[in-house]
């Protein structure tokens, strides 16, 4: 199956347009930026280099150039994305042992607290490395979906109230 690859240029083009327009109307603005030209220019230079690298990633045949973030699974030392943390599930020497990325806010949930208590009984607080939860992966996934349902539901409610 072939996937469509690409990126959006809409926003950047819009801001470029606005920048040019602001330049021509500079006398009407109420205040002046402290160092306008350098900041904007560096932004466009950055954008240009990003364009170049993305284009190269799309055109090149070498898979390592493309979608570098997929390698996370192979190398656990790659930085965890913002808002998530790595949790190890299962017995360290068993074959049912997996590294799972969990949203950090789930950790405060009482259901997760029960899992953490299990970990505390097994390894104590001073376990080196990531948090390891001694339970089956299926059990862990079950807890995760239940917490996700609660968190998702709350988000929906907030959203509805907000609108």
């Amino acid at each position: 199956m072939k996937k469509i690859r690409g990126f959006l240029v809409k926003r950047k083009v819009f801001s470029l347009f606005r920048y040019i327009r602001r330049k021509s109307h500079s006398s009407t603005t109420t205040y002046r930026r402290l160092n306008p030209s350098r900041r904007t220019f560096s932004r466009f230079i950055k954008w240009g280099s990003k364009l170049k690298s993305k284009a190269r990633a799309i055109c090149s045949k070498n898979p390592s150039f493309r979608s570098g973030y997929l390698r996370v699974r192979d190398d656990p030392l790659v930085e965890v994305p913002k808002g998530k943390m790595a949790v190890y599930v299962g017995q360290e020497d068993g074959d049912d042992y997996e590294r799972v990325l969990v949203p950090v806010i789930y950790i405060n949930h009482p259901l997760f607290g029960q899992l953490l208590r299990k970990a505390e009984d097994e390894y104590g607080h001073d376990h080196p490395g990531g948090i390891t939860i001694p339970c089956r992966v299926s059990e862990f996934e079950n807890v995760k979906t239940r917490i996700a349902a609660v968190c998702g539901g709350r988000k929906m409610m907030l959203w509805k109230r907000g609108v």
Binding site: H25, T28, T29, T30, Y31, P76, E79, V80, K82, G83, K84, M85, A86, V104, I105, I107, N108, G113, L116, A119, E120, E122, Y123, G124, H125, D126, H127, P128, G129, G130, I131
Partner: protein, 394 residues
């Protein structure tokens, strides 16, 4: 198009306002700024963090910070500067206490209230500061706590399983007395001609069963008990229960009278004992201050499990004084987050109690030792760490 232009101008005007606003607000929390406000005397809190960025004591300046991880904060700390006895002719100097509780907050809170008063009492009797005065204060505080346990034993037997490590420093007459029972640590930063500019000298002796010397000492004290230290979850523990070999409190490991019901079974030992298993007596070290000695870092083991002596000393040497204790805490938390494979910014979102899986309570007190100035006013200080942090159960 004109309307769009107007809105755009309004929005940018508003942003501009937000941008300048901090400029006319007094800067209190800034690292460089040092604005004295009355509310600043007792420190500030920010979520689970308590801090006092900069204060003055008799022989220099100090900085303090505490971060809470347990549901109830078990670490307590204090800095007392001024007269160290009740008489005006008695010793004058600074007292620093770091108390890292375990099993609950009761003992560390008790010691935080009583130990300094006991030091003052014995210093008044002897008319001087000495290692003996500090030792007597430790033992008296221990006795007072054991009598509290005896009083509350009937309706709250759990109090017999609560204890605290005690680290005390007294700076007086050009000497630093370091008394330690437990695994907190004090490190001296000394100016050095080397590349790093400062070297770390550890002044305290720790009593944690992870050290072979501590295990040997325990074994020699209890030759007829082969199971005096047990390896559990890769951690050495005295009787499989506590990691430290000296503490105040822990009545169930001090006196046989508390090794029975109604105390929970997991805290009871199968065999009765006649000799106390944990020792309340501190190891005392006296250090003569040298002009090269720049600062002392007192901290509970929560800091030292993430930072080495050298790393901590380098941080204090390389950054501004104000807020340095907070910076040390932050450095430790950043390492803790890395160990648990997450971001520091995300660690801050985790509630107390659950936090204990990521790091321990951390207390840091940095005391700067400045050369005496003739015109310096003698600053009297009495400050207790953690005031304002949550003190009730979640």
């Amino acid at each position: 198009m004109n309307i769009v232009d107007d809105i755009y101008m309004m929005l940018s005007g508003n942003n501009y306002l937000n941008m300048v606003k901090p400029c006319w607000k007094p800067s209190v929390e800034g690292d460089g700024g040092c604005v004295r406000k009355s509310g600043d005397q007792i420190g500030r809190t920010d979520g689970l963090l308590w801090y006092k960025d900069l204060g003055a004591h008799v022989s220099g300046e100090f900085s303090m910070a505490v971060i809470q991880a347990n549901n109830l904060l078990e670490d307590q700390s204090q800095v007392e500067s001024g007269p160290l006895s009740s008489s005006s002719s008695g010793p004058y100097g600074t007292f620093i206490g770091v108390y890292d509780g375990h099993g609950g907050p009761e003992t560390s809170r008790f010691v935080n209230e009583k130990l300094f008063a006991n030091v003052k009492k014995f210093a008044t009797e002897d008319q001087e500061m000495s290692a003996d005065v500090i030792k007597k204060a430790f033992l008296a505080t221990e006795e007072e706590f054991l009598s509290v346990v005896r009083e509350q034993w009937q309706y709250c037997p759990q109090i017999a399983s609560v204890g605290t490590c005690c680290l005390v420093g007294v700076i007086c007459n050009g000497l630093v007395y370091v008394a330690n029972a437990g695994d907190s640590r004090v490190v001296l930063g000394r100016a050095d001609r080397g590349v790093r500019g400062v070297s770390a000298v550890q002044l305290s002796t720790e009593h944690n069963a992870s050290y072979a010397s501590v295990r040997d000492e325990l074994q020699s004290m209890h030759p007829d008990d082969p199971k005096i230290v047990v390896l559990k979850h890769n951690v050495w523990r005295v009787k499989g229960l506590v990691q430290v070999s000296r503490s105040i409190g822990d009545a169930y490991l001090k006196k046989q009278e508390f090794n029975r019901e109604p105390l929970l079974a997991k805290f009871r030992l199968s065999k009765p004992f006649s000799k106390q298993i944990l020792n309340p007596e501190p190891s005392i070290f006296i250090h003569k201050l040298n002009p090269k000695d720049q600062f002392l870092i007192f901290a509970s083991d929560g800091l030292w499990e993430h930072l080495s002596n050298e790393e901590a000393v380098d941080i204090v040497h390389n950054y501004p004084r104000s807020g340095i204790a907070r910076r040390l805490v932050k450095a430790a938390l950043q390492i803790a987050a890395k160990k648990r494979e997450m971001r520091y910014s995300d660690l801050k979102k985790i509630d107390r109690g659950v936090r204990r899986h990521f790091h321990d309570d951390i207390t840091v007190v940095v005391m700067f030792i400045d050369p005496p100035l003739p015109n310096r006013t003698r600053s009297l200080v009495s400050i207790k760490g953690s005031r304002g942090l949550p003190r009730t159960n979640l």
